[in-house]
């Protein structure tokens, strides 16, 4: 560290590459898109930056606000479901025998080794009408019917005349299932990190003082893993808010999220200024979520 001061030129030399990279390929394009959001369309492809606020005004149309609202609700639901599903998973890994822990953690991050597109198509294969979920249900239906026939109740058709497959795909539920599936590791890993640091004797002390397992969980484990819960919630909420592949492939006509609208502006609608305005509104929404987190954590005494 001391060498930084002595070899200042070396420090700048090393820092130059990443800085140039970030400025050229992140800040400059971002600034261009920001400028586009104040532009007007001239003809089919030409744009002129006029400083107009029309794009933002259009984005605040109830139609688009509705899509924003739906995106927030989807991301929020994804966050809550991931927390409910992820907490037991993280707890199980923490309380697993030490030699199993690396294996279990590997299983959590294993999906990252496969492309998101492939995983989403795999989910389609699971959820569609003639998919694995319905096959499994049908198998149970068949077995139950056979059992009923054996009991002499076959002629009553208690389970209906034929198996009715569930409509699991191309609706809002499918989107939530997909979003939870994709983002669950982002919830489990911070939770695991927080729970792993938790002193077991604190849980034992709560039990010793008369708390039931559930009460000890609520009054000791949950408050002390709050940093992990907040990190996990943020890590799930922000990418879920901007996801477009999952609602695109798994959702129905009414499950469009804001990122799908933005994509359409840049591609099929060819309205870059409006797309840029929507993009920046989404970014401000993300900042708001982060600001909320900062306020919440300050209120908790700096956890």
């Amino acid at each position: 560290m001391e060498n930084w001061r002595r070899g200042r030129s070396a420090f700048w030399l090393i820092g130059l590459g990443p800085t140039v990279w970030l400025v050229l390929f992140f800040l400059v394009p971002l600034a261009i898109v920001w400028l586009y959001s104040f532009a007007e369309l001239r003809g089919l492809v030409d744009m002129e930056v006029t400083g107009t606020l029309d794009n933002y005004a259009r984005a605040l149309d109830p139609l688009y606000l509705g899509v924003f609202g739906k995106s927030v609700v989807f991301a929020g639901l994804t966050m809550v479901v991931s927390l409910i599903v992820g907490f037991p998973v993280a707890l199980a890994i923490v309380f697993a025998p030490p030699r199993w822990r690396p294996v279990l953690l590997l299983l959590v991050i294993l999906p990252f080794w496969t492309n998101l597109l492939i995983r989403t198509y795999a989910l389609i294969a699971v959820l569609r009408v003639r998919g694995f979920a319905n096959f499994t249900l049908e198998w149970f239906w068949d077995q139950s019917n056979t059992l009923l026939s054996l009991l002499g109740l076959g002629s009553y058709q208690l389970l209906g005349e034929r198996f009715e497959p569930l409509e699991l795909l191309y609706n809002n539920t499918a989107v939530i299932i997909g979003l939870v599936y994709v983002h669950l590791p982002f919830m489990v890993l911070p939770l695991y990190a927080a729970l792993e640091k938790l002193d077991r004797s604190l849980i034992e002390a709560a039990l010793d003082l008369g708390a039931s397992q559930w009460r000890a969980f609520l009054t000791v484990v949950v408050p002390l893993s709050m940093p992990g819960i907040v990190s996990g919630a943020i890590l799930v909420f922000i990418p879920a808010l901007g996801s477009f592949l999952t609602p695109d492939l798994l959702g129905g006509t009414d499950s469009q999220m804001i990122a799908n609208v933005i994509e359409r502006q840049f591609k099929s609608a060819n309205d870059w200024p409006f797309g840029a305005a929507l993009s920046f509104l989404l970014m401000y929404l993300t900042f708001a979520a982060l600001a909320l987190r900062a306020v919440v954590s300050r209120g908790r005494g700096g956890i």
């Binding site: 002193d199 004797s201 604190l202 034992e204 002390a205 709560a206 039990l207 010793d208 003082l209 008369g210 708390a211 039931s212 009460r215 009054t219 000791v220 408050p223 002390l224």
Partner: protein, 376 residues
């Protein structure tokens, strides 16, 4: 050393804790093996032993944090063997204190009462009483990270005592404190126990801690209880070589029984010219192996041979002198085959020159009541 706890079980009350045939196995490892133990009401009881001897496992079974593999635990007459921790009338002070870092001192102390659904103002009153008991008045609003280690321990004590348990369990309560504070806390724990009158069961690996605080001590080794006795009895009449060696400092001399009669045993010890004679109630068979345990402070060290020279006297040469302030310990070579004999003598005068020094030829002697004959 205190002998105050010589009366083990108070009055004719039934014991508060009755353990019988208790075993705890982890896989093929046996942590606690066939322990039988009775602890009386209002006793200050210590479980003493080296690390890994099973004392903490035994304490955790009393708390309900581990369930026994075999055997029963009765607390106040009720079978508690398989009752979970949150339904037992005992509370514990953890080695790490386990003070909840996200709660104030008051909320920590009131936690158990809140769980029990005690009204809010009563919680506050009782928690403040408990804090006063451990001399933490005025600390109620503090957060644990604003407390020192000693203060955190007091919070843990108050938190456990506020529930008025039938037994208070303490797992190595003083091990994390610095030496001075530890000394003071010993006395304070004893006084606290006398004030509240609750049975204390303390786990420690520090013999001086157990000797100075407890009324009775169970010495454990490899999962088994070796001896249960008041401190003085444990020190003066150990029942096995392990206990004699573990409690205090001792010279262990191996020998063969030559004769045993009239409460007196005579041993021939290889490497020692004269036989050793000791008072011993039992009469071990002639020819069997036994050990004489002699405490360093009970051996006389002189320049000239003293008394009748036909027994309990040995000559040697000072090989090492350790000055410890109030005493000096002489390490005396009595035979090339035997370990050095430790002899301690009090430094009663402010001598500038010691009576004995390196390479001095000396005589060691002791009386027949000084040592203990051990058969195991």
């Amino acid at each position: 050393m205190s002998t105050s706890g010589a009366a083990p079980i108070a009055g004719n009350d039934a014991p508060i804790i009755e353990i019988s045939g208790l075993c705890k196995r982890f896989g093929s490892f046996s942590a606690v093996e066939d322990v039988d133990l009775k602890i009386g009401r209002g006793e200050f009881f210590a479980l003493l032993g080296p690390s890994g001897c099973g004392k903490t496992t035994l304490l955790r079974m009393l708390a309900g944090l581990e369930l026994p593999s075999e055997g029963t635990i009765r607390i106040d007459g009720q079978d508690m063997s398989l009752v979970p921790a949150n339904k037992r009338p005992v509370n514990m002070v953890f080695q790490s204190y386990a003070v909840f870092p996200h709660m104030s001192v008051l909320d920590n102390v009131g936690y158990g009462l809140r769980i029990d659904g005690v009204p809010r103002d009563e919680i506050r009153r009782r928690a403040e009483e408990a804090l006063a008991l451990v001399k933490l008045d005025g600390f109620a609003a503090r957060r644990p990270d604003q407390l020192s280690g000693g203060q955190r321990q007091r919070v843990a004590l108050a938190r456990a005592l506020v529930k008025r348990p039938k037994v208070l369990l303490l797992d190595e309560p003083l091990s994390a404190l610095d030496a001075k504070l530890r000394e003071a806390m010993r006395l304070e724990l004893v006084n606290l126990q006398e004030t509240v009158g609750i049975t204390f069961v303390i786990v420690t690996h520090d013999q001086s801690e157990a000797l100075s605080m407890a009324g009775r001590i169970a010495v454990m080794n490899q999962g088994q209880v070796q001896q249960i006795a008041p401190p003085a009895e444990l020190y003066e009449f150990p029942s096995s070589r392990f206990v004699a060696d573990f409690i205090g400092s001792v010279n262990m001399i191996e020998g063969r029984i030559e004769s045993a009669s009239n409460g007196r045993v005579r041993l021939a010890c290889p490497g020692i010219a004269t036989p050793i004679e000791m008072e011993h109630e039992a009469a071990p068979p002639v020819g069997s192996t036994a050990w004489v345990a002699l405490r360093p402070e009970k051996i006389d060290i002189t320049k000239e041979p003293t008394g009748e020279a036909d027994a309990n006297t040995v000559s040697g040469m000072v090989e090492e002198v350790t000055y410890l302030g109030e005493t000096s310990v002489y390490h005396v070579r009595i035979s090339p085959d035997l370990p050095l004999m430790k002899v301690s003598s009090a430094n009663l005068d402010r001598v500038t020159r010691r009576a004995f020094t390196w390479e001095d030829p000396v005589y060691l002697s002791w009386t027949a009541t000084c040592g203990v004959v051990l058969e195991r």
